[in-house]
């Protein structure tokens, strides 16, 4: 479905010193800086996969998406999506993909969503009866039947995102690219969008590539994750392997009745993370040590609440961003 080999993308920006003088200087003498957004990136994605692209801001995730969809041209390397070279931007290619951008609306703001959908039906050359069926089905699933005739600009962010999703699915694309589809949404709206995406993917077997800063999105939806740091691939594997990158230690959260002594020697090997008033701590405990450590804490300190579980994916991500050396280049 998607094959890229040694894909690279460079951008050229110019730098400007602050103030009027800086602006004047840059007017006569421009200092250019080449930025490598994606660096020697190879990846292969099969039909029906749900892949999450992870990485901090500026890591190159969106640039990859732009290259996959043909919005920008790669500077070097080979890229093939559905057997097409995306940057040729052929109509046949465009009819088989869709892109949803959480930060940018693709619908026309001053007209009702239904009118936009009707226009897209013509663009994608979808039979009228099939279109009506899909529209009915999708609007029922997303619970937006009553909003179809309202101007897009008058919809809430969550409602608009549902419409954006509908617009991207009416032609039943083979690949859907989702660039932060839940950004800015409240928790309920995020959950609704996630549930919809999961069900849709199961029903249609569509290939979906997702970028999101919400680890809940990735955790719940993606079977496979690709970690990108500074334009380079640093991890490519199943979500389980990703969660176990820091080892199979358990995550233990303990709440105390009153502030406790943080200097006690029991904490030292457990990588403790304290809250500001020392009444809550998060620890990493190995399976072997679990019984002994927990009983010692319970006996020594005034514990009021206690949780244990796998290391949260947010913690894995935070740790990897702080210590990228844990995922050296070439480790997959």
């Amino acid at each position: 479905m998607i094959v890229c080999e040694q894909l690279t993308k460079n951008f050229r920006n110019y730098e400007m010193d602050p103030g009027v003088l800086g602006a004047l200087k840059s007017f006569f003498h421009r200092r250019y800086r080449d930025i490598v957004a994606v660096d020697d990136f190879s990846l292969s994605i099969e039909r029906g996969e749900f892949v999450g692209l992870l990485g901090p801001n500026g890591a190159g995730k969106t640039t990859l998406m732009k290259m996959f969809t043909g919005v920008v041209a790669p500077s070097a390397g080979r890229l093939e999506v559905l057997g097409f070279e995306p940057f040729d931007r052929s109509i046949a290619f465009r009819k088989r993909i869709s892109l949803v951008m959480g930060q940018k609306s693709q619908l026309w703001w001053d007209i009702p969503a239904r009118t936009s959908f009707e226009l897209l039906r013509r663009y994608y050359e979808v039979e009228s009866s099939i279109f009506e069926q899909r529209l009915k089905h999708l609007s029922e699933l997303l619970e937006v039947e009553h909003l179809l005739n309202i101007h897009v600009r008058k919809l809430s962010l969550g409602e608009r995102m549902k419409m954006e999703l509908m617009a991207s699915l009416l032609h039943e694309p083979d690949i859907i690219f989702l660039d932060e589809p839940t950004i800015g949404l409240d928790l309920v709206a995020q959950r609704n969008i996630r549930a919809f995406l999961r069900d849709y993917q199961r029903e249609h077997g569509t290939t979906i590539i997702l970028t999101s800063h919400y680890m809940a999105d990735v955790h719940e939806l993606c079977e496979r994750v690709v970690l990108i740091l500074q334009g380079q691939k640093r991890f490519d594997g199943t979500i389980e392997d990703f969660e176990n990158l820091l080892g199979t230690d358990k995550f233990v959260s303990v709440e105390f009745k009153e502030p406790v002594d943080v200097t006690d020697s029991i904490w030292r090997p457990l990588q403790p993370k304290w809250n500001s008033d020392r009444t809550e701590v998060k620890l990493l405990v190995s399976d072997d040590e679990m019984r002994r450590t927990v009983s010692e804490i319970l006996q020594t300190f005034p514990v009021v609440d206690f949780h244990t579980g796998k290391i949260p994916i947010e913690h894995v991500m935070e740790t990897l961003l702080a210590r990228p050396e844990l995922v050296p280049l070439g480790k997959e």
């Binding site: 732009k66 043909g70 109509i91 869709s98 663009y123």
Partner: protein, 270 residues
């Protein structure tokens, strides 16, 4: 459905969107569509009435006050058909990174804006017809005949396409410049003077008119008016061909700029 029919249906649907978009907000619609041409007419009306009220001025190069007001009324009518596109939407789409949408949808940026423009022209034709009736009954103009009227409408509609091509070209500069509004204003003011939209070209020195004949400017306002008035001295066919030539040349430049711009496009902020 043949592929031609499918393509036509895409254009027609986009035209409809263009019309719906334009009429979505009533006040905006009135201000954007009718406002500029009408305000421009009223300013010129007052200007010329003031000039002719000066002592000793009853005629300027064959133009009495009545003829001058008639000329300005024709300018209003021609502009309602010809100067409809302002290129603002184009430049905004580029600056705000909305071009991405047209790279994903299987209907190009150029096609979308061209079809929207044609939709706008349909609305403009209605406004033109209403204004024509009002101006006619107010006694401001004297049409030369049905043939001249139809030839004039055809001429003005072609000028509309020429004006759109120019605006498209200027809009493409948004790929390279942060803001393009100043370019549009410079061009609009230059065109207003050199096309005869403020002062009839008969009032200009003859050498300047001869020079202007090698540019598209006189075809933008002055010659369409002369066609409407039945006073166009050249061959009508030649006039149409010259307009086609300018449309072709400017559109080629615009498409070239679009292609170059698209290569530079980084879809910032996506």
């Amino acid at each position: 459905m043949t592929s031609l029919q499918r393509e036509a249906s895409k254009w027609l649907s986009t035209m409809q969107i263009g019309i719906t978009n334009q009429m979505a907000y009533k006040i905006n619609f009135l201000l954007m569509i009718i406002g500029p041409a009408l305000v421009f007419f009223l300013i010129k009306y007052n200007l010329w009435v003031s000039i002719y009220s000066l002592e000793g001025i009853t005629e300027i190069k064959g133009y009495t006050l009545e003829a001058m007001i008639g000329y300005q009324a024709w300018v209003l009518l021609v502009e309602l058909l010809a100067k409809t596109s302002n290129g603002r939407n184009l430049a905004e789409d580029i600056r705000l990174g909305r071009v991405t949408t047209y790279l994903i949808y299987p209907f190009d940026f150029w096609k979308f804006h061209s079809a929207s423009f044609l939709g706008t022209q349909v609305v403009q034709c209605v406004i033109f017809s209403l204004t024509f009736v009002i101006v006619l009954f107010a006694g401001l103009i004297e049409p030369a005949g049905v043939f001249q009227f139809l030839a004039g409408v055809g001429f003005a509609l072609l000028v509309g396409i020429l004006w759109y091509s120019v605006q498209f070209f200027v809009g493409m500069m948004a790929f390279w410049l942060e803001e393009t509004w100043m370019l549009r204003v410079i061009f609009q003011i230059t065109a207003a003077f050199l096309s005869g939209a403020i002062i009839p070209l008969e009032l200009y020195p003859s050498w300047l008119v001869q020079v202007l004949d090698f540019t598209p400017f006189p075809y933008m306002t002055f010659y369409p008016i002369k066609v409407f008035q039945g006073e166009y001295s050249g061959s009508l066919l030649e006039g149409y061909l010259i307009l086609f030539f300018w449309i072709f040349v400017i559109m080629m430049f615009a498409r070239f700029a679009l292609r170059r711009g698209m290569r530079l496009y980084t879809a910032a902020g996506m």
